[in-house]
């Protein structure tokens, strides 16, 4: 018998019989796939295709190692080391929160002038309406802080931290429906399949703490609303280990991390070592980078058996911290609790923490709906900002708040004195950024009197992405990945860094 085969032979006689059959097939498969493997080798970076699994794992920079990125990153001096992205899914109403339009009060119920809409496409939900009655916000707006930023009554906590915030009132997207719009916002393209922002950052900059994933997603529990798909934190065509890891809401953030009863951690280690050997054999034979990715994931999961319980344990947080984040923060899985968890993860060196809060889709009963959503998120958001600041982390942590698009000035459905609905609106909406390298206490961009069109300093989603990468020391035009014969970027062939936002 061939010596080289010993390693793959079982001790069991019956199994050996099976394996002989398998070998014949294996031979045929190998010879036919061999050519394919060669082609694969030239498509992928050769070091990846032909490196032994062990080497690849050894290259895996543990914390405390010297990190010099083989991609030539960062391109310039970074301002941000980490980011928390507070995604408000559904399309928050900029008209009821930030974009104050006092002139609308006198136009209550009037039809939206066609000169404003300019024949823009609407969603199927309001396109058939016979009129588009203007619905001024019933919320009370005031100016706050030294920066005199306009904020509505719905956000009493955010209004206290406006001097740390950079409001962008002139955001624009190309998508009018949730799924393409949120995919566009998170991956730079409306079609599924591209890597998410966090995956790009993980690929480009690597990890600051090898015991935790570089990119973690937290979703507020029990919100319903528009669905979220894992592709929003997916790796697309980037190596698999760069995808975001979703921590579940509730007391067990990562399933199956704890060992079963009576199962010793040493056994787990041994099991993984043997598994590692098998995977190494497989990798040597095929050179499929997914095998290496899988091995890395197993090792990561093993380390997470200790690191995750540690970081998700809230018992060492003092009461005044819970008070800051609000009563909700004591209940795992709420937005406020996720904000607190986000801070803890960022402290531990997680580069990208992505929160999602669903349900901002107020087609009907907008005032009540937005009020409710603000109540769930306002205090946690402001507390996170304040908490990062007092720990000195805000200067190298980027905080981003925003949804996938805005909402219309006209009412979807019936308009009454104190109730209206608002449809999706991609042409103008508000987002804000704060922290690392972003100017604080400014409002950038302007919309017209209807919050319908941008009249000054538009910021396209691609521009936002370019600016975000810039803050991490990345030239968005130079962070590329070759896939299917061409190089891809987060911003594809678009995007300009909005220099006016940079401190």
């Amino acid at each position: 018998m061939c010596d080289g085969h010993d390693t793959l032979r079982s001790n069991n006689k019956d199994l050996q019989e099976v394996e002989k059959h398998w070998d014949r097939r294996h031979f045929l498969t190998k010879t036919s796939l061999g050519i394919g493997a060669l082609a694969l080798g030239s498509l992928l970076k050769t070091e990846k295709a032909f490196a032994k699994a062990g080497d690849v794992l050894a290259n895996n920079d543990p914390v405390g190692s010297f990190t010099r990125n083989k991609l030539g990153l960062p391109h310039h001096m970074p301002k941000a080391k980490r980011i928390v992205y507070l995604f408000q899914s559904g399309g928050p109403s900029q008209l009821d929160m930030f974009d104050y339009k006092p002139k609308l009060k006198d136009m209550f119920g009037q039809d939206l002038p066609p000169s404003v809409r300019q024949g823009q496409r609407l969603t199927g939900m309001s396109a058939q309406q016979s009129s588009f009655p203007i619905a001024p916000s019933i919320m009370d707006f005031k100016q706050y802080g030294e920066s005199r930023a306009w904020v509505s009554e719905l956000l009493p906590h955010t209004s206290k931290v406006v001097d740390d915030i950079c409001f962008i009132k002139s955001m624009q997207t190309e998508q009018i429906n949730h799924d393409p719009a949120i995919t566009f916002m998170q991956t730079g393209n409306q079609l599924p399949g591209r890597p998410s922002i966090g995956a790009w950052l993980s690929y480009g900059l690597g990890s600051d703490n090898e015991n935790l994933p570089t990119f973690i997603t937290l979703i507020t529990k029990g919100q319903g609303g528009q669905p979220l798909y894992s592709r929003l934190w997916g790796n697309g065509f980037l190596p698999t280990e760069h995808q975001g890891v979703q921590f579940r809401s509730g007391k067990d953030p990562v399933l199956y991390l704890s060992d079963p009863e009576n199962y010793d951690g040493n056994d787990r280690r041994k099991m993984l070592d043997y598994l590692g050997k098998l995977n190494t054999l497989q990798n040597d034979a095929y050179g499929d980078p997914e095998i290496v990715a899988r091995m890395k994931q197993y090792e990561m999961a093993f380390r997470m058996q200790t690191s995750v319980p540690e970081v998700t344990d809230m018992s060492d947080e003092p009461d005044y911290i819970f008070d800051m984040y609000g009563e909700d923060s004591r209940e795992p899985g709420t937005y406020a609790a996720n904000c607190l968890m986000a801070r803890k993860l960022l402290e531990k060196g997680v580069k990208f923490v992505q929160l999602y809060h669903q349900g901002w889709d107020q087609h009907i009963a907008c005032p009540g709906g937005v009020r409710n959503k603000c109540k769930q998120t306002d205090q946690g958001t402001a507390a996170l900002l304040q908490d990062l600041k007092q720990r000195g982390m805000l200067e190298d942590t980027l905080v981003v708040w925003g949804g996938e698009f805005g909402r219309t000035v006209y009412s979807q459905g019936q308009l009454t004195k104190d109730n209206y609905g608002r449809d999706h609106h991609p042409k103008a909406f508000t987002m804000w950024m704060a922290g690392a390298g972003v100017k604080k206490g400014i409002t950038y961009g302007e919309t017209d009197d209807f919050s319908y069109n941008v009249v000054k300093d538009p910021v396209h989603v691609h521009d936002f992405h370019a600016t975000l990468l810039h803050l991490f020391g990345i030239d968005h035009e130079r962070l590329t990945f070759k896939h299917q014969g061409r190089r891809f970027r987060l911003t594809d062939v678009h995007g300009n860094v909005v220099k006016d936002l940079l401190a």
Binding site: G64, F66, T67, M77, Q390, G473
Partner: protein, 464 residues
């Protein structure tokens, strides 16, 4: 141009490598010959034929490879011919000298004229001439004597009173070309038929026609070449050479598009984008316009290659070292929480010594969550280029902070959850660039912060 196979060009590129062998061998033959005559040591003489034969053979090889290299084109015809023929003569002379020296050939009329000395001297002179031609081909004609003391310097451009007076091409664009392009595109070495050492030569273009189309970036081959991604085959300068910086590329584009790619356009006559204006101001020694105080704080120390031995040493101890900008040698040092405890702090005093070789290259340092005391902090005060220092949750006190006044570049200091008090404020105020100090959960109170007043650049940040 005839098609030359890649393999021939591949071999040709070995010419500069092989060519130094005959230079060494043949010179050494002359040295041996002279040494023999001076010392009268006959044994030395025996080595001369070996040196000559090695020299001759390697010279022959260099000739073949050199010819292959020349097929790639782009060289000044006259100079190339000179180099070629002198190289061939040198080779032949070397063979001849070997034949004579090894007594395989005797030439009657040479016998009286100390045959070996004469031949060898001629050979070395030929060698020198060949080498000179070769050097000029590679580096350009004026490379050798450019900085020579006796040489008349080209008249420098007249000093400018204000930035607006600068003519774009001679003052800004030509220096960029000289720094990045003329090494291969000059009067004697015209890669791709293009020379860039003068305006006229540039406008004349190369083998593929003109490279600059005034006012039209899309049709300017020059712009295409310098804008390609670094790993593209056609990118200029080619792989291995220093590429144009972003600002330089922007300048060239500006010159072609807005300044119409001519020699006369002045900055004052055209609308100049900020990026170009700032670059121009920096190049011509005018104070940067519109530069903010923050901008000034961003001046980084010059790039120094990292001492990898030192890096590996500290990494082995548990320090994290991350390069802040790729290739800059500037790093961030982090120490994982709880690396230093009260029990092992004496060891860490020695460990910190090992950071000293990197001390000018450390810009950010995060030691938070470790049992750093005042004594250990004294070591940190030697890292004079620090911009950001994180010391939260450590055992430092007022005394330790007093030692940090040497950190003239420090901009941000994190002292959250330490025992420091308002006594440190005067020391902090002395630090010229310090802007932010985080003092939440220290003995510094809200009143202390209010007492600081508003007329200081220093911002003390506290919390709930």
């Amino acid at each position: 141009m005839q098609e030359v196979s890649d393999f021939v060009l591949f071999l040709g590129r070995f010419h500069p490598l092989v060519v130094h062998l005959p230079i060494g061998f043949l010179l050494f033959a002359l040295i041996l010959e002279v040494a023999e005559r001076v010392t009268k040591n006959g044994a030395l003489s025996a080595a001369v034929p070996i040196a000559l034969l090695s020299g001759a053979i390697s010279a022959f090889l260099a000739c073949i490879l050199g010819y292959m290299l020349s097929l790639g084109g782009g060289y000044d015809e006259d100079m190339l011919n000179g180099h070629l023929w002198f190289g061939v003569f040198t080779t032949l002379t070397a063979f001849f000298a070997w034949l004579v020296k090894s007594d395989r050939l005797s030439v009657k009329f040479l016998q009286k004229a100390r045959p070996n000395m004469a031949l060898l001297t001629v050979m070395v002179v030929l060698l020198g001439i060949t080498g000179h031609y070769g050097g000029n081909l590679t580096h350009g004609e004026d490379y050798l004597v450019k900085y020579a003391p006796f040489r008349e310097k080209a008249e420098p451009l007249p000093k400018l009173a204000k930035l607006e007076d600068a003519t774009v091409y001679p003052y800004l664009v030509q220096p960029v070309f000289e720094a990045k392009c003329t090494g291969c595109h000059n009067a004697s070495k015209k890669k791709g038929g293009l020379a860039m050492h003068t305006f006229d030569a540039l406008i004349a273009g190369g083998e593929g026609g003109s490279v600059v189309t005034p006012g039209d970036l899309g049709n300017s081959e020059l712009v295409r070449r310098i804008s390609l991604p670094q790993d593209h085959d056609d990118v200029m300068p080619p792989e291995g050479k220093t590429p144009l910086t972003e600002q330089e590329t922007a300048l060239v584009k500006f010159w072609i598009e807005q300044a119409q790619g001519n020699q006369e356009a002045r900055l004052g006559d055209i609308e100049v984008p900020d990026e170009v204006r700032q670059f121009a101001a920096a190049q011509l020694g005018f104070a940067a316009e519109g530069g903010t105080a923050e901008g000034a704080g961003d001046e980084l120390p010059a790039a120094v290659p990292l001492n990898m031995e030192a890096v590996n040493q500290v990494v082995a101890l548990g320090f994290g070292v991350r390069e802040l900008v790729d290739g800059s040698g500037l790093v961030e040092i982090t120490l994982p929480d709880h690396s230093i405890s009260k029990a092992n702090i004496s060891e860490w005093e020695k460990h910190f010594e090992l950071l000293l070789p990197l001390k000018d290259q450390i810009l950010w340092m995060d030691l938070g969550g470790n049992a750093i005391n005042d004594n250990l902090l004294r070591k940190v005060s030697e890292f004079g280029n620090l911009r950001k220092l994180v010391l939260d949750n450590t055992d430092i006190t007022d005394e330790g902070i007093a030692n940090l006044v040497n950190l003239k570049n420090l901009e941000s200091l994190n002292l959250y959850n330490t025992q420091v008090s308002d006594h440190i404020v005067p020391a902090l105020a002395e630090m010229p660039k310090l802007k932010k100090v985080y003092v939440w959960r220290t003995k510094i109170t809200e009143d202390d912060i209010k007492g600081l007043g508003t007329d200081t650049k220093l911002e003390l940040i506290s919390g709930v």
